[in-house]
């Protein structure tokens, strides 16, 4: 073998190294044995053996979102690839850069229903940003280099590369990553001085402005978050963040109104409803955020900054769409605002702030911790207070616990909050925490979980033990699929059809069976001690936090309602959900 010639499998691994991959999450099988063989000899890439391919993708997502790098996955053909589909869809919805290498039957068998053959590119087409089936070994290296560029540029997303086994075994000439890969012409930007100037003026002249920012700011890198915070401070403008954007303005910033949307704060949603000017930075007017569209921020001018042109005017028509990378646009806006600021065009916002402060007085996140039962809100609040001095990363599953984590945990930095927003995938949090802990071995990584979601990917406990990952699994155990139960209570006459999580395991014994620490608490007086013990335990921990079983997640915009029709508690006069509302997910 001369220096430049190697097997296709070796070329793939070399191309990963070239693209600075350090970790790959995967699971072997017949169609990827040559790749595993190439990995065996490789010292530069660490392979993490997960216990299910869906978990491999979520782990790669956790890795990617907590580092800003591309996450990498390796799965076998057929069932390996189909198992990865939920993860890929999740990554597409939340714009996470992931490369998924899948094995495929040899090219001459494609289309014959061979053993473990699946039409992987066909199945994954609608759930990837792009995908490839490599049928020609000469294209192998180029395809991988290009895939990294596609996954990480513009609006990031997952790219799948299907690799037939014969291609992995063919000798190929290795082609290095070219210093510059041509971007596709899609990454179009319409930023110009005039547009920035006009938007800056609108921002300064608005009487009731609000900035609403989302995951695009996080994806744009830490600099974008700094610039956003700077802009907020310069303007003394209220700011609210979506579920995906939490952390891009520190929770302690005095202008931060909390999260908005279905379970957002009263002040955030009412400020959205009553603003006269809205600047959307890297968010996408998701239906969880806007509530009923024809009543969404009715009297406002709207500006939308997004790297993806198709996000602009998709659901909400805006006055100006600025297409481009958030950090570049924010940097221009900050400069322009500073310039205009000196010319004193800033409108006074005293009246606006006093209105907002009145909404704040409603204390929409208030709750009463009475009796011995643990309120789930209190559990998260205590968790936050106890971990405030650590470099803490939170992942979550999906359900009430996810919303409580978003509401009661404070995020001071971007990339420290990993949750499945767009797809809402139960079972995301545990594998995601694996990826986060691999990327940040010294940090405190906590999966805030619900008992039902935990069961969806609990096989990953085995991965956690194998790699000695000191992940803390904080289960808000209410013995219900709480969020389902809540909707059944509010929309379906409390007919709790199939939402009780019966036959739960003993989580402490479950932990012990894996050789890790299990803790349980059901009394508020022991909550803090349990959290301390969890944090101070060196290895992984499952903490079974028995919480109030029928607690509901409030405040809430009922489905089909508008921002100003939020309810703050079950005692509120709740209108029956409209028929349109009932049909919404």
């Amino acid at each position: 073998m001369t220096l430049n010639y190697m097997t296709g499998a070796e070329a793939v691994i070399q191309a990963l190294v070239d693209n600075k991959v350090e970790v790959i999450f995967g699971y072997p099988g017949g169609a990827v044995l040559p790749l595993y063989d190439a990995l065996f000899e490789n010292k530069k890439i660490k392979h993490i053996l997960v216990r299910h391919e869906q978990a491999a993708v979520h782990a790669a997502e956790g890795y990617a979102r907590s580092t800003g790098k591309v996450g990498c996955v390796l799965v076998t053909s057929g069932p390996g690839a189909t198992n990865a589909i939920t993860g890929l869809t999740d990554a597409l919805m939340d714009s996470v850069p992931v490369i998924c290498l899948s094995g495929q039957v040899p090219t001459h068998l494609i289309g014959t229903d061979a053993f473990q053959e699946a039409d992987t590119t066909g199945i994954s087409r609608p759930c990837t940003k792009h995908n490839y089936l490599v049928k020609n070994a000469d294209k192998l290296c180029e395809t991988i280099h290009k895939s990294f560029e596609i996954a990480s540029s513009g609006r990031p997303g997952p790219v799948l590369i299907d690799l037939p086994k014969d291609i992995q075994l063919t000798n190929v000439k290795y082609i290095k990553k070219p210093p510059k890969i041509k971007k596709h012409n899609h990454y179009y930007s319409n930023v110009d001085e005039d547009l920035i100037n006009r938007v800056a003026k609108l921002l300064l002249q608005a009487e009731r402005p609000i900035i609403y920012a989302g995951g695009g700011v996080v994806n744009s890198g830490p600099k974008a978050s700094k610039l956003l915070t700077e802009l907020v401070n310069l303007l003394d403008c209220p700011v609210t963040l979506t579920l995906m954007g939490l952390g891009c303005v520190p929770n302690t910033n005095k202008n931060f109104l909390g999260m908005l949307g279905m379970h957002g704060t009263y002040e955030a949603n009412l400020a959205m409803h009553n603003c006269d000017f809205m600047l959307n930075v890297g968010a996408r007017f998701d239906d969880r955020v806007t509530g009923r569209l024809n009543a969404f921020a009715p009297n406002s001018k709207k500006v939308h900054i997004d790297v993806d042109k198709s996000s602009i005017n998709k659901v909400v028509s805006v006055d100006y769409g600025i297409v481009g990378d958030c950090k570049e646009i924010l940097s221009l806006l900050v400069q322009e605002v500073k310039k205009l600021h000196n010319q004193k065009v800033l409108n006074s916002k005293t009246k606006w702030w006093s209105q907002i402060n009145k909404w704040k007085e409603r204390d929409s996140l208030g709750f009463k911790q009475i009796g011995n039962n643990i309120k789930p809100q209190q559990a998260i609040k205590s968790l936050y207070e106890k971990t405030i001095d650590f470099d803490t990363y939170i992942t979550t599953e999906v359900g009430q616990h996810q919303m409580w984590a978003a509401q009661y945990f404070g995020f001071s930095k971007p990339n420290h909050w990993m949750t499945s927003g767009g797809l809402g995938t139960m079972g995301y949090g545990l594998p995601s925490s694996v990826g986060v802990q691999i990327a940040h071995p010294k940090s405190l990584v906590i999966d805030v979980s619900g008992e039902a979601s935990f069961l969806m990917n609990m096989q990953e406990l085995s991965t956690i033990v194998q790699y000695k990952l000191p992940i803390k699994i904080f289960i808000l155990n209410n013995e219900w699929m709480g969020m389902v139960r809540q909707w059944q209570e509010l929309n379906h006459g409390s007919r709790y059809s199939e939402s009780y999580t019966s036959s739960l395991p003993d989580f402490v014994k479950l932990a012990e069976s894996f050789g890790i620490t299990g803790l349980r608490v059901d009394n508020i007086h022991n909550l803090e001690a349990t959290i301390d013990e969890m944090i101070n335990t060196n290895g992984p921990v499952i903490a079974d936090i028995r919480v109030e079983k029928e607690e509901n997640c409030f405040p809430m915009i009922p489905s089909g309602a508008a921002h100003n029709e939020m309810i703050l508690s079950s005692d509120d006069n709740v209108k029956d959900t409209s028929n349109e509302g009932l049909a919404l997910v």
């Binding site: 590119t121 066909g122 087409r125 609608p126 940003k129 792009h130 995908n131 089936l133 596609i150 609006r155 596709h184 012409n185 899609h186 179009y188 239906d287 806007t290 009923r292 569209l293 024809n294 993806d308 042109k309 198709s310 602009i312 005017n313 998709k314 659901v315 028509s317 089909g560 349109e580 919404l584 997910v585």
Partner: protein, 183 residues
């Protein structure tokens, strides 16, 4: 539109002809069609063929229908597809030509044979095949012209129709050469 109520001020839907330059690769067409079915957009006509062998590019001519907001969405969504390089909105750009080819088989005997030939002549259709009991005509032109011809043929006997879908190109001396060179 959104999952919530439709915009009350919803404007009328109009027909639009889009012209796309795409990589001639397996999967490209599937992505384009998947976009339309997945997001619930209409395709009224679609036609694809390779137009540049050296650069391996195909043109997709596509007729769709929607409000201007929907059409803008369709165009931006199409541009997100990696192997889609150019999306032109011919309807918006200015005057353009839309043409389609149809092959029409008519099974006909007796007096109606003369009538069929007369109509074919009026429409400037070519006769590609003749038997004692049938004709195959070839007709090109605007889709509406093809519709009219096919309707008349149907009234004369049993027919079988094969149409290419619309091909479109702008009028005047503007070309895409510069855009193509940037791909």
């Amino acid at each position: 539109m959104s999952v919530y109520q439709k915009n009350e001020l919803e404007e009328e839907e109009t027909s639009r002809t889009l012209s796309l330059i795409v990589d001639n690769q397996p999967g490209t067409l599937a992505r384009v069609i998947g976009l339309f079915s997945g997001r619930g957009y209409n395709i009224e006509s679609l036609n694809v063929t390779e137009i540049d062998k050296i650069r391996n590019l195909s043109r997709i001519s596509l007729v769709t229908r929607g409000t201007s907001m929907t059409i803008e969405q369709i165009k931006s969504q199409l541009l997100r597809i990696v192997p889609v390089h150019i999306v032109r909105d011919l309807t918006l750009e200015g005057p353009f030509i839309k043409s389609e080819l149809a092959l029409v088989k008519l099974v006909v005997k007796g007096a109606n044979r003369v009538e069929a030939l007369r109509i074919a002549e009026t429409f400037r259709a070519r006769t590609l095949d003749v038997t004692l009991s049938s004709f195959v005509f070839e007709l090109t032109g605007k889709p509406s012209k093809l519709d009219a011809f096919i309707d008349l043929m149907r009234s004369l006997g049993d027919t079988e129709v094969s149409r290419t879908g619309v091909s479109a190109i702008s009028r005047g001396d503007k070309t895409e050469t510069k855009l193509l060179d940037q791909i």
